[in-house]
């Protein structure tokens, strides 16, 4: 067998792998859309579930998801940004400890986060099953991602800017505010968007911390059922719920797809407006 023939075989055989990946994505999307698309209409998005979710819509589910997103990203952003700035611009001692701690946080399985959230936020802090507990727990989960992306975004800004700032005698915080952070903004925005996608995909955590109530959450301490949890419960605990589960899954997928797409497109968008 010549080298050329070997290559032909290899290209075909190895090519089955990416074909499988693309096929899986297509199969999942088609599947979920096939079962669920028909269920989605205006009322689906504006009404809350009734009959354990067999009818009605997902309005309260969407609201609960929105709440935990806001709380989760809102809590993680300042801490993550501050830590990212510190690691990129100031860190000299203790860097390895911080990074090690972040790696550890990233390795914790979601059930363990769920249990921790239950024990700490819900019980010890007395927040109970609430969107607040859920949001704060998930904030811990996305923190490593945030810190890593913010730090990377800042490190990517060329040192020329810092040198110029020092030469002008600017204090660090002003340099950051006026020059470095705007330059790193696309990466930070992408980090925000990616973190959103990750929060939406989580379910075990919220099952333990935010509860499974289908009532519309109206305050921080109200429980709520997020999209992923709704999909699970409809599929597993509600006979005849698989069509609604698929519809909810479709909405969930659409949301996550939007975040993946946005995260990819954001850097280009920023670059276009950057040097005006």
């Amino acid at each position: 067998m010549t080298a050329r023939t070997r290559d032909r075989f290899a290209a075909l055989a190895l090519g089955l792998a990416p074909a499988l990946v693309v096929g899986l994505v297509a199969a999942i999307v088609v599947d979920v859309a096939w079962d669920g698309l028909g269920q989605i209409d205006r009322s689906f998005l504006t009404e809350s579930p009734s009959q354990a979710g067999r009818s009605g819509g997902i309005a309260s589910i969407l609201a609960a998801t929105g709440w935990v997103l806001l709380i989760g990203v809102g809590a993680a952003l300042p801490v993550g940004l501050a830590a990212g700035v510190y690691l990129a611009e100031f860190g000299r001692t203790g860097l390895r400890t911080v990074r090690g701690a972040l790696d550890l946080l990233a390795a914790v399985p979601s059930v363990v986060y769920g249990l921790f959230g239950l024990a700490f936020f819900c019980e010890t802090l007395g927040l109970g099953w609430s969107v607040l507990s859920g949001g704060l727990t998930v904030a811990m989960m996305i923190l490593p991602l945030f810190v890593r992306l913010c730090e990377a975004g800042l490190r990517a800004v060329p040192d020329d800017y810092r040198a110029a700032g020092l030469a002008l005698g600017l204090p660090r915080w002003m340099l950051l505010r006026r020059v470095l952070l705007p330059q790193a903004a696309p990466s930070i925005a992408a980090a925000l968007v990616l973190a959103t996608g990750r929060v939406m995909a989580e379910s075990a955590v919220f099952l333990f911390t935010a509860g499974a109530s289908t009532r519309m959450p109206e305050g921080l301490l109200d429980p709520g059922r997020v999209l992923a949890v709704h999909v699970y419960l409809l599929a597993v605990e509600v006979p005849g719920g698989s069509a609604r589960a698929a519809a909810t899954a479709l909405v969930l997928l659409a949301g996550i797809l939007a975040t993946t797409g946005a995260a990819a497109a954001l850097p280009r968008l920023f670059l276009r407006n950057a040097h005006a």
Partner: protein
Amino acid sequence: MRRPLADATFAAALRPASWIAVVLPGLIAVFVGVQAWPALRATGGLPFVMDSRWAPPSGQYNLLPMIAGTLVSSIAALILVGPVAVAYGLHVNLFAGPRLAAVSRAGVGLLAGVPSVVFGLVALTRLVPLLVRDHPPGLGLGVTVVTLAAMVLPTAASAIDAAIQQVPTDGIRAVRALGLGAWDGARGVVLPMASRGIRTGLVLALGRAVGETMAVLMVAGNTVQYPTGPFTAFRTLTGNVAVEMAYAMDLHRSALFVSAALLFALVAGILALEHRRA
């Protein structure tokens, strides 16, 4: 004109954020530990592997069936994923043209974004009914392994893709300059040189598989027994916690925290093993 005081103050203001990050893992460890302590103290630890079965209300805490369930399903999934992920990495870097490569990578990115529950839903509504006729109820090890494999494939594939990209192109050019092909280059140069990165990718995938909860919960069958065949219903450590937490009390609850701690030790151990070898 430098204002070191302003800088130092600013740094001091930022530092607590890093401290929060450092404190958090400790916080998790403490709280999980505190909740797990009662069961550990009451049993002394050994019953978790020595009792006759898992039945906490009766004071039986044997976790081995669940540990076996986690390990068997994850390792089996890894065996399925490994060759596919390596084939993907080789194809995308050595055989595919730029457009094909972009499509493949986008595919992996999208698959990575699909949530656990959606994998579980599709497996439940499509795979399980295929098996129900001949092997009721269709849930069990086989479906779980296939689902897990699909879920961790993107993790392994993108890590291996990155590892192969890092191999300098000199070696491949030298192979081609001898009239040999891309496959020869893959065998002789790329795979040996990327082997460490490939191993890391596979370990990451294993870690993810061990930590998976929802999809596994939906298709594993929720029975406390050793997974002996492709149609055996079983439970993983994660599933065990998720299913029983809702109604567990006192020592039972504490025992579940013990299993969560064990799970985390398992994942941390797998990842640490790889760190040390690198």
